[in-house]
Structure formats: structure tokens, C-alpha cells
């Protein structure tokens, strides 16, 4: 406890900008020295991909060298740089407070993106994990709108995701790719990346429309019954796609173009966070909470409850559709089996682990469950014992999730810690 307090005292004056500089230093160390010097000296065959968790679980004898690597490459640079540059970064953070908040946010985000780009540049596995994690963030935030803010237990999210993924895939394949399924491309391939955002929006819009099938019954039922209806929706989507042979049926669709690069996904993630944050902090969005907590009172306080429910479902489904579209263009292969009950369990685990009614909670949940899932991959079957166990403990000690009912305060996050 004493050590923890001392640690906290030492680092409490480091602003967000300082932590980002520390992280930048760490990835630079890895980028320039990681392979040639550090990992070779420590006897590691290559740079550990996910902080060495995979190597540690596969060959326990390597644990000391992996820990040494983590210490030298990540922990020491981050802590020393963050601490040593604290006076300078506090000054910078102080001057960033004076410029408009959006500009300072963009500066922080660009720095953050740079760090991720360098870190993911080391190998393709990292890049893939990072991309899928960001898609999980979008998904978790979108399901939080329905299950957290609106308080309905909806199980239809993989269905919305599938609709978005298939619509976006069909559009890109028809428009920009010469393939067996849809024949000649209608538009030149160079246009593809520029029109990709509109394709994602189209996928999201169709997913939003399809969500009406669940939203309209929600006027009359709540709780378990709506959960069953939404679960049925998920299975309907899955078997409908399985029986549509012109889009590949159960075999799925492949050869989507590689439009979902890291910067593209990063921008979409930030956009999702920004728009959902704006919505849920406005009175229009808080109506979701009011309808969840007491529908009769909301009606009497002039809140349009039916409209609010439709908005919640369509809004959540829209972002799920966008996430599906991105997902399809990351893996460049989708089949109906991808959007099934296992995906649902994963999404629900993320949202309930991270925290209901909170964007920051969703981010924490999505990142920790996806990284944990990857890190524990060598354990194979035991992974599905450990993750649920963690979930059970979270539910016992924090019934609404790790960080619930909290919104991001950007100003507070970036402020200078000079005292």
C-alpha cells in the first residue's frame, strides 16, 4: 500500500500529454532498438507481439526474458520520460488549455495515433489485433446505447452487424471489384477508398432500418420478452443470409478490398465516440435514461417515449452496422457463422464488463476483453473459463460494470497538473 501511494504521488502531476510522450518514447525505443539489440540480447526469437503474453504462456521458461523486455522497452521508458518531462509537458498542457478544446483534442489524438501506428508497424498480427479492438470499441459503444442508456436487454447486435457487413461488402464488390460473384466493377477502383465512408454509412443505415423489427415490439414488451424477440432477430438474419445463394449463402463472401486501414478505422472510432458522446449528454439523449428509469413519468414530462425507443435502437444499430462494414473489410471474408451466438456473448461480455451507461466504460471493456482474449489464446479452451470467471467477479463486486454512469470530460482529461 505504501509503495502504491508513493507511486501515485510521484506520478499524479504527469498530464495526459506527458503520458503520451512517455508512450511515444517507448514505441520509439522498440522501433529502433527492439529487435537488433534488446530482444536478441535477451534471447527472444523475435519482438514479443502482445507484451509477450503469448510467449510466456507457450514456453514458460522464457518468462524472465519477456518480463525483462517489457521492463526495458515499455515500463522504464514510459515512467522515466513521463516523470522527467513532466515540467515541460505540464507547460505544454497549460498552453493547450488556452486554445479551443477541439484543437487540443486533435493534437492529443494525432500523437496517440502516431504511437499506435509505430507500435502496430512492428508486425501484422499487432495491426490486426489493434484494428479488431477498435471495431470492438465501436460495437460496444453502440450496444451500450441500447442495453445501457436505453436499458433494454437486446441480443440482436450480431444481426445488425451482419446486415451492415453484408450491405457494405456487396456495395464494394459490385462497385469496385471484378469478381466471380457480381462480375465487372461498375466504377474505377481508384474511387473506392474515397467512397468507402459512404458505403459504411449505407450499411449502417440499412442496419438501422432493420432494427425497427426489434424496436417496434419494444413499445409493448420489455425485459426478457424483448430479449427473446431480439435473439430471434439475430437468428432470422443469420438463416436468411445462409439461404441467399447470390451472396454466397453459408459459404460467405470474400475478396473485399483492403479499405479498412488503421487510420480509417481510427477516424471512425473517434467519430463514433464523439457523436455518441454528444448525443448521450444532450437532453435528447438523456431521454433514453428517463424512459429506462420510468416510462410513465417520462410520458407525463412530455418525453416522446416511442420516438425515443426508436431512436435508441436505430442509433445503436447504425453504429453496429458501421462496425460490421469495417469488420468485413478488415478480415476480407465474412460468413453468416461469424455473426452468431458466440459473437453475441463476446459483445455482451464487453459491455457488461466495461460498464453500463458510460462511453469510457465501453472503451475499457472492449479493449480489455479483446486484448485478454488474444493474450490468453495459447490456453485454448481454458480461455473460456478464465474470461467468464473474471466477468462473474466483476458482476459480484460492481454490478453495473467497472466504470458505469460516467461520461468523458475531455477538459479534465487533458488539463495541466501544475500545482
Amino acid at each position: 500500500m505504501e509503495i502504491a501511494r508513493k507511486f501515485k504521488n510521484t506520478f499524479s502531476m504527469v498530464p495526459m500529454f506527458g503520458w503520451l510522450s512517455g508512450a511515444l518514447a517507448a514505441v520509439l525505443v522498440e522501433y529502433f532498438l527492439g529487435y537488433n539489440y534488446i530482444s536478441l540480447v535477451l534471447g527472444l526469437p523475435k519482438i514479443p507481439v502482445l507484451f509477450g503474453t503469448l510467449i510466456m504462456l507457450k514456453t514458460p521458461i522464457m518468462i524472465p526474458s519477456v518480463l525483462a523486455y517489457d521492463l526495458i522497452v515499455y515500463i522504464i521508458p514510459v515512467l522515466t520520460v513521463a516523470k522527467l518531462t513532466a515540467p515541460a509537458t505540464n507547460k505544454i498542457a497549460g498552453s493547450l488549455e488556452k486554445i479551443p478544446i477541439w484543437l487540443s483534442t486533435i493534437i492529443h489524438l494525432v500523437l496517440f495515433y502516431g504511437i499506435m501506428h509505430l507500435w502496430a508497424g512492428i508486425n501484422d498480427y499487432r495491426l490486426l489485433v489493434l484494428k479488431l479492438t477498435m471495431v470492438s470499441i465501436i460495437l460496444t459503444i453502440s450496444i451500450n446505447v441500447i442495453n445501457g442508456y436505453q436499458g433494454e436487454f437486446s441480443c440482436s447486435h450480431p444481426g445488425f452487424m451482419a446486415v451492415g457487413a453484408y450491405v457494405a461488402s456487396i456495395l464494394t464488390l459490385v462497385l469496385f471489384v471484378n469478381d466471380k460473384m457480381f462480375g465487372q466493377a461498375l466504377l474505377p477502383a481508384e474511387l473506392g477508398p474515397w467512397l468507402f465512408p459512404f458505403i459504411l454509412i449505407a450499411g449502417g443505415a440499412v442496419a438501422a432500418l432493420s432494427s425497427l423489427i426489434v424496436a417496434i415490439p419494444s413499445f409493448r414488451t420489455r425485459g426478457d420478452y424483448l430479449a427473446i424477440i431480439s435473439l430471434a432477430f439475430m437468428f432470422i438474419v443469420k438463416s436468411a443470409i445462409e439461404n441467399m445463394n447470390f451472396i454466397g449463402g453459408a459459404r460467405g463472401m470474400s475478396s473485399q478490398p483492403d479499405y479498412a486501414s488503421l487510420p480509417v478505422i481510427f477516424c471512425w472510432t473517434i467519430l463514433t465516440i464523439w457523436i455518441v458522446h454528444n448525443f448521450v449528454t444532450s437532453i435528447m439523449g438523456k431521454a433514453l435514461n428517463a424512459v429506462r428509469d420510468d416510462e410513465a413519468a417520462s410520458e407525463s414530462m412530455t418525453v416522446k417515449t416511442k420516438k425515443t425507443k426508436i431512436i435508441a435502437f436505430m442509433f445503436g444499430a447504425f453504429w453496429a452496422g458501421v462496425a460490421g462494414g469495417l469488420f468485413a473489410h478488415i478480415l476480407r471474408f465474412i460468413n453468416p457463422g461469424t455473426f452468431s451466438i458466440q459473437r453475441l456473448a463476446e459483445i455482451l461480455a464487453m459491455v457488461y464488463f466495461g460498464g453500463l451507461n458510460s462511453i469510457i466504460g465501453s472503451i475499457v471493456g472492449a479493449v480489455s476483453i479483446s486484448l485478454l482474449g488474444e493474450a490468453l489464446r495459447p490456453l485454448e479452451l481454458f480461455k473460456w473459463i478464465i474470461i467468464p470467471l473474471i466477468l462473474i467477479f466483476v458482476m459480484i463486486y460492481r454490478p453495473y460494470g467497472l466504470i458505469s454512469f460516467k461520461e468523458i470530460n475531455v477538459k479534465k482529461l487533458f488539463r495541466s497538473k501544475n500545482k
Binding site: 444532450s282 431521454a287 414530462m301 412530455t302 416522446k304
Partner: protein
């Protein structure tokens, strides 16, 4: 004076049960009317019928000469019928300030896109509403609780939040469903003061259900008595107090020996 709210020969059946029969009501601006009656007499049902939770089987309801039968509850509320509930109906995960802000919902004009992209118009309106909400909080003496969750407030303060919330919808008539239920005598006196204050400051008409005679007799200018869905007496407080039918309904028949 022109009547604000006019209920004419309203009857309502729940299946085969006749809950309200031939009920008439006429509320003029700034009038305070009380509705009393034993448990199960149909008082809350009358509230629900007028505010649109149920649609009456027969009869007409007009608000400022405009028919409101068949409208959704939120539309009726936006037209100027604010209400509180018998058992507090607060939003348990929301702060006091959010409660008051939320009741401005019908006044929002910025639309969905405004709230998604946090447009200047949206920000302007939100800050206006926030200002107005603080004004209401101050008036009801709950400003110090603004950022607390409602569930952490003492009971009396929760009642005040509910009143403030109802007033934020900018009502012409305020419906109070047993505003003093579960209150101590001290809080009761305070509640009378608050209702008087609301009546004077906002110039609203008030229609209230209450069990405590002291409260009703002190506040109301006109009282209706309901038994098994039928109005058995109506008039100024003194008349009601001495009406043998009312005494019979509340205390039972007098033994004449």
C-alpha cells in the same frame, strides 16, 4: 371566467368494472380544486383519464376548448397538464438537475442532428434550459442538491424535485396525486407553503387528490367527493365538511336511536 379544462360526463370501464361514472369537472384559471374519496374510489383513475394514460369509454375532455381525448400522454402534457405521482416516479439514475432539464423536452427544437453534432444552436438551447432549470431549483430550495442523484435525497426533497420537474413542463394546470403521502406533520406544513407559492408565482390552476382533510380544507376553494367512481358531493370546503353523504362515506352511517 372561461374554463381551462372541461370534463363532461366522463365514464370509464375496466372490462366489466365501472371505475368512473358520469364525472364532470370544470377548472378555471388559478383555481385550486381538491378531489377526495375513500381508497379505491377512482381518484387516480380520473387523473390517468384526463392526462391520457387511459382513454375514457365515454365523455369528452377539452383543454381550452380543444379536444384532448385520444392524444398521447406526452402530447397532453406538452399542452399544459403537468402532474406528480402518488408514489414518487423519479428517474433513479439521474441527477436532480437532469430531472428538471428533461422536463423541458417538448421545448427542444434542435433536432436529432443538432444533438449528434453538438451544433451551436443545440449548445445555445441547452444552456438556456440549464439556466431556467437552476432558476426552478432555487425556487424549490433544492439548488444545493443539483448534481446529486435523486435517490440520495431525503423524502421531502424528492417530493420537491417532483414538483419542480412538473413545473418545468410549463403547465397551465398542475395535477398533484397525494402530494403529502408519507410526510410528517412538519413536512406537511412545508408542502402547503410550497403549493401556495407555486400557485402564486406561476399562476397555475391546481387539481389535487388528497386524504388529509386539514390539507384539503386549507388549500382548496372547491372540493369534489368521489365514492365508487361517482361524485356524491361537490362544493366549497365548508359545505363538504358538513355534508351527511360525505360523512357517511368516510365514517359510516350514523346510528339513529
Amino acid at each position: 371566467m372561461e374554463a381551462l379544462l372541461n370534463v363532461n360526463k366522463m365514464t370509464h370501464y375496466f372490462g366489466g368494472l365501472r371505475a368512473v361514472y358520469n364525472y364532470d369537472l370544470n377548472i378555471k384559471p388559478q383555481q385550486i380544486i381538491g378531489l377526495i374519496g375513500p381508497n379505491g374510489a377512482g381518484k387516480t383513475t380520473i387523473f390517468n383519464l384526463i392526462t391520457g394514460v387511459h382513454t375514457p369509454t365515454e365523455g369528452s375532455i377539452t383543454l381550452q376548448d380543444e379536444n384532448i381525448v385520444g392524444l398521447a400522454t406526452n402530447e397532453i402534457a406538452a399542452k399544459g397538464l403537468g402532474r406528480t405521482f402518488q408514489n414518487l416516479a423519479l428517474w433513479r439514475h439521474m441527477s436532480v438537475l437532469d430531472h428538471i432539464k428533461m422536463a423541458h423536452y417538448s421545448q427542444l427544437t434542435y433536432g436529432l442532428m443538432g444533438s449528434f453534432f453538438n451544433t451551436p444552436g443545440c449548445r445555445k438551447q441547452e444552456s438556456e434550459i440549464k439556466e431556467n432549470s437552476y432558476r426552478l431549483l432555487e425556487l424549490f430550495d433544492i439548488k444545493q442538491h443539483a448534481d446529486q442523484l435523486v435517490t440520495s435525497l431525503p423524502y421531502g426533497a424528492q417530493r420537491r424535485v417532483e414538483m419542480a420537474r412538473a413545473m418545468a413542463t410549463d403547465p397551465k394546470i398542475l395535477f398533484l396525486d397525494e402530494p403529502t403521502a408519507g410526510m410528517t406533520p412538519d413536512e406537511l406544513v412545508q408542502m402547503i407553503k410550497i403549493i401556495r407559492q407555486v400557485h402564486e408565482d406561476f399562476k397555475v390552476a391546481i387539481f389535487l387528490i388528497e386524504h388529509r382533510m386539514k390539507f384539503v380544507m386549507e388549500l382548496c376553494q372547491y372540493i369534489q367527493t368521489l365514492v365508487f367512481g361517482e361524485m356524491i358531493a361537490a362544493g366549497p370546503p365548508e359545505d363538504i365538511q358538513n355534508n351527511p353523504k360525505v360523512i357517511e362515506a368516510y365514517l359510516g352511517k350514523e346510528d339513529v336511536t
